[in-house]
């Protein structure tokens, strides 16, 4: 096969908005035909800006972009008619049916009447949406919406397909389907740019452009990136109390990074570093590096293991009291059952995860347990307090961190801290000590007067955590706490959580993020409103292990368990 053509050439691309720091700084790279190029980076790294520059919707402040041989500054129209672009939220008309949406986009893209029937048929078959042609787009699941979006972007077969985070809000199964479809397209020579914040997706790409804070950290095949940390990644097993062990290990000289993976710890060592000393009985073995290891290495390694916030907190009594109890929790909205008969108990000092795709019912369950939703039946208890009777008392004992940044954006850091201190009844000296401590620990002083909405993403996340921890809660509710943040911020976040858990804080976390699930002691897998599996991450992985998949990942486990549940449902229906 001949060398694939460069469909997009970026040379020193810079984009500046107003007075803000540049959204893109001197980015160079290529997108080739017949390949999937991953545009990888955390939220706010500049992915969407770069894609919009490629479409010619915006002009770069500096540098040049050549797309399909046209300069985006002068030939935007020529580019736009030859590419397919799927923005983050594809502009589907929710009140039109699948078929009507496609007809509308066919009109907009000027697809000749004569070709329509054949093209629609091919695309609907390809995306497996044929059965739903008459269904309104608003009633499709997240995954199906993305497939329909893809179908609309493919109406006039483009030479270049730009996909802005197609995997967001889509469960792993649909994401795998979507990926397979896109791979099919590359076989026809189409060049695909797949933007994503999921680092594990980067590994599957043919090449990667890694962005962080507007800078391209790497451009090339992902194996080249992971190759840089080859032989430096280890897996430590049998280490006992893994959270404390991790906190010590990452502070050892020569350890660049460490994360929890179920019962084990994953370590990244500095180049030429000796293996760190391990307690007796611990086994250490080299393991295959992942893209994230290389990314963290490139960023200079993960944070240390000392959490000042946990250190400043008194330990809660070391008992096995159930701090969070769900007892037959059920929530119906009309005839739709969002959560059915969900029961579990979380003892003190445990991290419990609710894992599941969007819309599966994990948020509903979560909301019932922190008092945001009243269950249709069943009871929820926090710190032994019945939420249906004494909700306010229970709420005084819990800290809550919402999925998207949900502090007061117009208020400064200090005003936000003061507000949360006040709302949790802190006053006088205690209020001053706690807010002062938060400012110091999270390094807020430099930004203290700035409106919170203007803070960088990582700092916003810290502020949200500070607000949730203001009153030293016994129970923490975290709703998708680190989706989209960079790996360093995520490690820092979990470092604090791990240390707090060691002090006896109990954590309930929802996530659709497999990495995050690994931090949990136990997980309940929520699917279609039911808990389909409950166990530690390692137990769940072991459950689906098979001869062809001896060492499944969390995502493999998730996919297998969901398919199993689907099969059971079909059996019941039959």
């Amino acid at each position: 096969m001949s060398e694939p053509a460069d469909l997009v050439v970026l040379e020193g691309v810079t984009k500046v908005f107003g007075d803000a720091p540049p959204a893109l700084k001197d980015v160079s790279g290529t997108v080739r035909g017949g390949e999937i190029t991953g545009l990888v980076g955390p939220d706010g790294a500049g992915k969407t800006t770069l894609i919009r520059l490629m479409t010619g919707l915006m002009e770069p402040t500096g540098g040049t972009l050549t797309v399909l041989g046209h300069d985006t500054r002068t030939d935007a129209a020529a580019i736009q008619s030859a590419i397919g672009y799927m923005p983050q939220r594809f502009g589907l008309y929710e009140d039109l049916t699948v078929g009507e949406n496609m007809t509308l986009y066919a009109d907009l893209r000027g697809l000749p009447q004569a070709e329509r029937e054949a093209v629609f048929d091919e695309l609907l078959t390809f995306t497996d949406l044929k059965r739903f042609t008459a269904r309104r787009a608003g009633h499709l699941s997240g995954g199906m919406k993305q497939k329909l979006g893809l179908a609309c972007a493919l109406l006039r077969k483009p030479r270049l397909l730009l996909l802005d985070e197609p995997g967001v809000g889509v469960d792993p199964i649909s994401r795998r389907d979507l990926w397979a479809m896109v791979e099919d397209l590359t076989r026809e020579g189409i060049g695909v740019l797949w933007a994503t914040a999921y680092l594990e997706e980067a590994e599957a790409c043919d090449r990667v452009l890694l962005l962080n804070e507007g800078e391209a950290l790497f451009a090339g095949p992902p194996a080249e990136m992971t190759g840089r940390v080859q032989g430096r990644v280890y897996r430590v097993e049998g280490i006992g109390a893994r959270r404390t062990a991790l906190a010590h290990l990452v502070d050892e000289a020569g350890v660049r990074d460490g994360v929890i993976q179920g019962e084990a710890i994953r370590l990244l060592l500095a180049e030429g570093a000796e293996r760190p000393p391990l307690p007796d009985g611990a086994r250490i073995e080299a393991t295959r590096p992942r893209f994230e290891d290389a990314f963290v290495d490139r960023l200079g390694g993960g944070p240390g293991g000392h959490s000042a916030i946990a250190a400043a907190q008194d330990a809660f009594p070391d008992d096995d009291a159930a701090m969070i109890e769900a007892d037959g929790l059920t929530k119906r909205f009309g005839d739709f059952t969002a959560a059915a008969d969900i029961s579990f108990k979380v003892p003190r000092g445990e991290i419990f995860g609710l894992l599941g795709p969007n819309g599966a019912g994990k948020s509903t369950t979560f909301k019932m347990l922190c008092g945001l939703l009243r269950p249709t039946s069943g009871t929820g208890r926090v710190a032994g307090i019945d939420l249906s009777r004494q909700a306010a008392q229970a709420r005084g004992r819990l800290g809550y961190m919402a999925q998207k940044f949900s502090l007061y954006g117009d208020l400064s850091i200090q005003q936000n801290l003061d507000f949360f201190a006040g709302v949790y009844g802190l006053s006088g000296r205690r209020k001053r000590t706690r807010t002062g401590l938060m400012r110091e620990i999270f390094d807020f002083d430099r930004h203290a007067g700035q409106p919170a909405k203007e803070l960088p993403l990582g700092l916003k996340q810290r502020l949200a955590l500070a607000a949730a921890l203001m009153h030293e809660p016994e129970v923490l509710f975290l709703d998708e706490p680190t989706s989209g943040v960079d790996p360093i911020t995520r490690r820092e976040f979990w470092m604090h959580i791990n240390a707090l858990v060691e002090k006896g804080v109990t954590v309930l976390v929802t996530t659709h993020f497999m990495d995050e699930a690994e931090y949990c002691d136990r997980i309940s897998l929520i699917y279609r409103g039911r808990s389909i599996a409950l166990g530690s991450p390692d137990e769940l992985k072991r459950r689906v292990a098979s001869p062809d998949q001896p060492d499944p990942t969390m995502e493999d486990a998730f996919v297998a368990l969901v398919k199993e549940a689907d099969a059971e449902r079909e059996e019941e229906a039959a």
Binding site: R374, Q393, Y400, L411, F420, G422, V423, Y424, S427
Partner: protein, 370 residues
């Protein structure tokens, strides 16, 4: 109830409005605009109108009448018409608001001491201005008729009217308008600030954050009610100052009574705003909801047209409009020394409206939590 929690909430609410650029606009732009527009441009008086005269008489008395119409301060120009047709067209095209048709025997009849008639044709599409103009023209005609031969004979026996305008001797428009604005601006700002407050938090996702805090529902409600009331009292104070210092409206009654009544009035306005806010999911819905209430509330308040003129089937709506009662209080305090009993009589319905609105808002707020 914890004072610490409540204070934190109130302070946050005030800061959120002040620090949000859009919030600041809501606080500043409508008051300034209302002050400018209503106090200078929008006037209920009829001034600078053009009148057309079709004089088929061309006698002494018809010319005298035309001259007096032209001399009236209300009338800018008197345009002569050649034919009834021209008069009809001028009114149709709105180039004049009224036409005066003087028949060919006018002077003859007047000189002969017989009753004479002048026809006035008015543009009924502009009913208010027409009504006022008709009475002006009537007055001119009456005065003229006293000087006619017949008129001079009966002057001695005639009853004449000598009007005296109490409370606003010169019928100064601003004296009437500016106190009205005090009531209406508090309605506008109080309603919008409250309506946006919950909807904004819902949109930003901070609402859940509030709901998982140990704040109880009634604390959240108080925290949402107090700040807009503070802001509303601030606006009322500013407008009172503007009325006294810029527009020199006399203050004849007690400000204490005005503020006392204003607290209930603001509670009613904020209660309605909170109800709208609890009902809406987005800020856009909240704004639409606020205006859906605001426009009829203004029209059915006696702000521009007397409540008595509003058709009886709409009267029940006027009865539940807090602006209607508060307008009486504001005007009363400014233009006449309104008595305590009258203020209380007007404030009781306001307090009732406030109680119902706040209860309904709290009920809806709890219900929407499900």
């Amino acid at each position: 109830m914890s004072l610490t929690r409540l204070l934190a909430l109130i302070l946050k609410e005030l800061l959120a409005v002040m620090r949000d650029p859009k919030g600041r606009i809501v606080l500043i732009a409508p008051p300034v605009m209302q002050l400018l527009i209503f106090s200078t441009a929008a006037t209920l008086e009829v001034r600078n109108v053009d009148v057309m005269v079709l004089d088929q008489d061309h006698g002494h008395w018809s010319e005298e009448l035309t001259a007096r119409i032209a001399g009236a301060p209300t009338v800018k120009r008197v345009l002569p018409a050649d034919s009834p047709d021209m008069l009809r067209r001028a009114i149709e095209e709105r180039s004049v608001i009224a036409g005066v048709w003087i028949g060919s025997d006018f002077t003859r009849r007047v000189t002969a001491g017989r009753p004479a008639t002048v026809q006035v044709i008015l543009d009924g599409r502009r009913s208010n201005a027409s009504q006022i103009l008709a009475s002006y023209l009537g007055e001119i005609a009456t005065r003229l008729s006293l000087e006619t031969p017949l008129g001079t004979q009966i002057t001695g026996q005639l009853i004449t009217v000598e009007p005296r305008n109490w409370f606003n001797a010169n019928l100064a428009d601003k004296w009437f308008m500016v106190p009205n604005l005090i009531a209406s601006i508090a309605l506008l700002v109080g309603l919008i600030v409250t309506a946006l407050s919950i909807a904004r938090e819902r949109e930003l996702g901070t609402f859940d954050q509030l709901m998982v805090s140990p704040l109880r529902v009634h604390e959240i409600l108080i925290g949402k009610v107090v700040p807009p009331m503070i802001i509303g009292l601030g606006h009322i104070t500013l407008f009172i100052l503007a009325a006294l210092l810029i527009f020199h409206v006399p203050l004849r009654g007690s400000l204490g009574l005005l503020y006392g009544s204003a607290v209930f009035y603001l509670a009613a306005v904020v209660g309605i705003g909170l109800f709208i806010s609890a009902l809406s999911m987005t800020q856009q819905q909240a704004i639409l909801g606020a205006f859906l209430f605001l426009v009829p509330a203004m029209l059915l308040s006696g702000f521009a047209t007397p409540v008595e003129n509003i058709p009886s089937w709409l009267q029940p709506l006027c009865d539940i409009n807090p602006l209607r009662y508060f307008l009486v209080v504001v005007r009363g305090v400014f233009l006449k020394d309104i008595g305590v009993d009258e203020v209380i009589r007007q404030t009781i319905p306001i307090a009732l409206i406030a109680a119902v609105a706040l209860t309904a808002a709290a009920w809806l707020f709890r219900r929407r939590m499900e």
